[in-house]
């Protein structure tokens, strides 16, 4: 018999770890699954080990707290790192709400080169798969040296690589600040932070209004110390170089993000990010209802206890709306407690926790409203600008598809192939939807991660070796 856990948690970021810990403290038998070889999720995983020494204050605090939770969790729950989940299925029970007897099967691929399939079964599932970067296309964004903000964060791990680099940070949203501050502190020569949205300088950054004065002041101090200029209503609208990045065109923007005036800034690294896209393929596979977040992005819909529309399936963290690590952690805790209570354990209510989630979520909404992506970015593109890098689809091909009668993102994809390549539209999906004239839809990807045909074919044999090593 394969072991059936009480709860499987997918994602070992702040939300998943906090949720798993609460559930296991309450007495549930928990397994935590993450694709990455290290815990921490999008943010903590990428902080260099030397961060402690370098940086007192809010972030240090966050990381330390996360590591404490992680240590506590490790001794209580089963941990499966390096396990990519490519599909989840729910069997038994009834869609109307009966959870008795229902189980979720989580299909993973363990390991990197020598990956092997593995199925994990549980009575409840917490999805905490976070979000991924949301880039916007512009001429030259496919040059080596142009990174997403998340990519730049990953670079930080080896601070040696960063030192001496001439970096420009551009995009929109509060996370530009920690990225720029982190790079500056690690020795990079940060040539400027260009925030497309903010009309005001750092002194009136929305983080302040949202009650994050200490955090904002911390970043501002780092940027000031390193003499990093911060400009609102500016963005990198083109990147240049022969084989690798040598300089960028920075534009002053009008309220709709159309370029008003441009100049050139030399750099060898550009970190660019326009927010995040929640990873919804697993909840969509299960049929969980989605809703649109304040900025129009599809996210998983949950109730106050983080239950999705599918019985036995819960969601927390950025999959339910982008809002920062603190909110993700609080939501995760709430979810873990709800799962335990739903499974019949005694969990005393924690009204303070629910209030905290509400307060942080309101803050997240305020930030979304402060940093909308404005339509003028389309004016940055030229006919030959690649919209989809995997399939090398230029803007002109997207326009041709529209002329042929494609009126939504799916039909643009069918006629011109953006999103058909390796990343399956994770990078270009947002831009293609905007160019097709619609709000981005929740992704339908029945296969969430590439899986070898041999592994897919082998699934039918329930007693293959990999499943049997479960106690």
């Amino acid at each position: 018999m394969t072991r059936v856990y009480d709860l499987a948690v997918i994602g070992a970021g702040p939300a998943g770890v906090a949720g798993a810990l609460e559930a296991s403290l309450a007495g549930l038998d928990v397994v935590v699954i993450d694709a990455a070889p290290r815990p921490g999720g999008q943010y903590h995983r990428h902080l260099p080990d030397s961060f402690h020494a370098l940086r007192p204050g809010a972030l240090h605090h966050g990381l330390e707290r996360f590591m404490r939770q992680w240590e506590a969790l490790r001794s209580r729950a089963e941990i499966l790192l390096g396990h990519r989940v490519w599909a989840v299925e729910r069997t038994g029970g009834d869609a109307a709400g009966g959870t008795a007897g229902a189980t979720v099967t989580v299909r993973c691929l363990a390991g990197d080169r020598e990956e092997r399939p593995r199925a994990v079964r549980a009575r409840a599932l917490l999805i905490a798969t976070g979000a991924h970067d949301r880039p916007l296309p512009f001429p030259g964004w496919d040059l080596p040296g142009v990174l997403t903000a998340g990519g730049a964060q990953a670079l930080l791990k080896g601070s040696l690589v960063v030192a001496g680099r001439r970096v420009v940070v551009s995009g929109t949203g509060p996370f530009l600040l920690p990225v720029a501050a982190g790079l500056a502190r690690a020795g990079a020569d940060v040539r400027g932070v260009y925030e497309a949205g903010g009309r005001f300088g750092l002194a009136r950054h929305p983080l302040l209004a949202a009650g994050k004065a200490a955090e904002a002041a911390g970043y501002a101090a780092v940027l000031a110390r390193h003499r990093v200029p911060y400009r609102g209503r500016h963005a990198v609208v083109a990147a240049h170089g022969e084989d690798t990045l040598t300089h960028v065109t920075v534009a002053r923007l009008d309220a709709d993000w159309r370029p008003v005036a441009t100049r050139t800034v030399e750099c060898d690294t550009l970190a660019c990010g326009y927010g995040f896209v929640p990873q919804l393929e697993l909840p969509v596979q299960l049929g969980c209802a989605t809703r649109r977040d304040a900025d129009g992005t599809p996210v998983v819909a949950v109730d106050a206890g983080r239950r999705t529309s599918v019985p036995g399936v819960y969601a927390a963290g950025e999959t339910t709306g982008v809002g920062g690590a603190e909110l993700a952690e609080a939501e995760g805790r709430l979810a873990g407690r709800t799962v335990a209570a739903d499974r019949g354990l005694r969990v005393p209510p924690l009204p303070a926790l629910a209030r905290r989630v509400d307060r942080l979520a309101a803050f997240a909404r305020a930030l979304h409203e402060a940093y909308p992506v404005r339509p003028g970015w389309r004016d940055w593109l030229r006919d030959d600008t690649l919209v989809c890098r995997c399939e090398e689809v230029p803007l002109s091909a997207v326009r041709e598809a529209r002329r042929l009668g494609a009126t939504d993102a799916r039909s643009v994809k069918l006629l011109a192939r953006p999103g058909m390549g390796w990343c399956q539209g994770r990078m270009c999906g947002y831009a293609v939807a905007c160019l097709a004239g619609e709000d981005p839809a929740a992704p339908r990807r029945p296969i969430a991660q590439p899986v070898r045909l041999g592994d897919l074919a082998g699934l039918e044999h329930p007693l293959r070796k990999d499943d049997r090593d479960d106690p």
Binding site: G405, T407, P446, I447
Partner: protein, 389 residues
Amino acid sequence: MPDVVVIGAGVVGAACAHYAARAGLDVVVLDRGPVAGGTTGAGEGNVLVSDKEPGPELDLAVLSAGLWRELAGLGGFEYEPKGGLVVAEDDEVLAALTALAAGQGVEHTVVDAGRLTDYEPHLAPGFAGGVFYPQDAQVQPMLAAATLLREGGRGAGRGTLSLRTGVTVTGFLRDGERVTGVRTDRGDIPAGAVVNAAGTWGGEVAALAGVHLPILPRRGFILVTEPLDEPLVLHKVYTAAYVTNVASDSAGLETSAVVEGTPSGPVLIGASRERVGFDRTVSIPVLERLARQAVELFPALAARRVIRAYCGFRPYCPDHLPVIGEDPRAPGLYHACGHEGAGIGLAPATGHLIAQALTGARPGLDLDPFRPDRFDPDRSGTGTPAKEG
């Protein structure tokens, strides 16, 4: 007033509109979604003569295969006359396959076991032999539909062809029994004739005219691999079991993988057949069966990654034949739907025959087997009394 309104901008509607405009008629194509947004956007693009028993569907397929060859000259979409290889698991199956090929009367070569790898170097050993069909081809169905629509009205002596997306047909204009146009969510459009090319939704559209067409969805999943650096699969390759599956009436799951490479690099593996309504929930057991069958044909595929799977709903008629021609129960309404898993292959012939019917020309094929009222218990009956709108 247009001569013809075509409902549906899938490959079948596109072909009907294309040939009607070529015949000099002014055509308006309506679709509630975008071009090729229905089942055409979920199909694989096989143009097969190999998988059909002798009979009316094979006649249609052979006519269509020739028309696709000609239409490929328009450019704008991929057309690859790559040929299909059907392989037999054992001698008994091979004998049946060879007999079928002889009866079909289409160009083919019987391939014995030793020569299979001349056609497909990576094919698994152990097959008893096969039959190669050079006329089997591949089209990119979405671009093909878009191209047929764009090109239909271009050229001297042709009618006009215009496409209106985002328009839903909600009913019909009637003059007595006669259909004289459509009602839409964007207003009425009177027309000389109306073509129902609504694919899997053809039964619903017919019902708006008060006539019955028993078209049901038959779900199919397709797997798509990562792009391969070297072509592993050169033709369309499938096992003889596919032929029996296609013709089956079972509502249960049937899979028989058709494996082929594409010009852009990925290998396509399709497709399953099952009648589960319009349910999109992913079925892992279906995907694993397709994967297993593909690996059984080409063991080297085992190490290649699937990056995508998708599903669509074939327009299925109980007798596996499409509905083509004017509806005697609602004169002025022509049907061109219900092509199940072969609508891409059969689209040009369907469009060609519909255009002939619309212009009163003698049809190139006998349309009797495709008659819209053939499912009525009383074959000559006029169906339920037609309601206005």
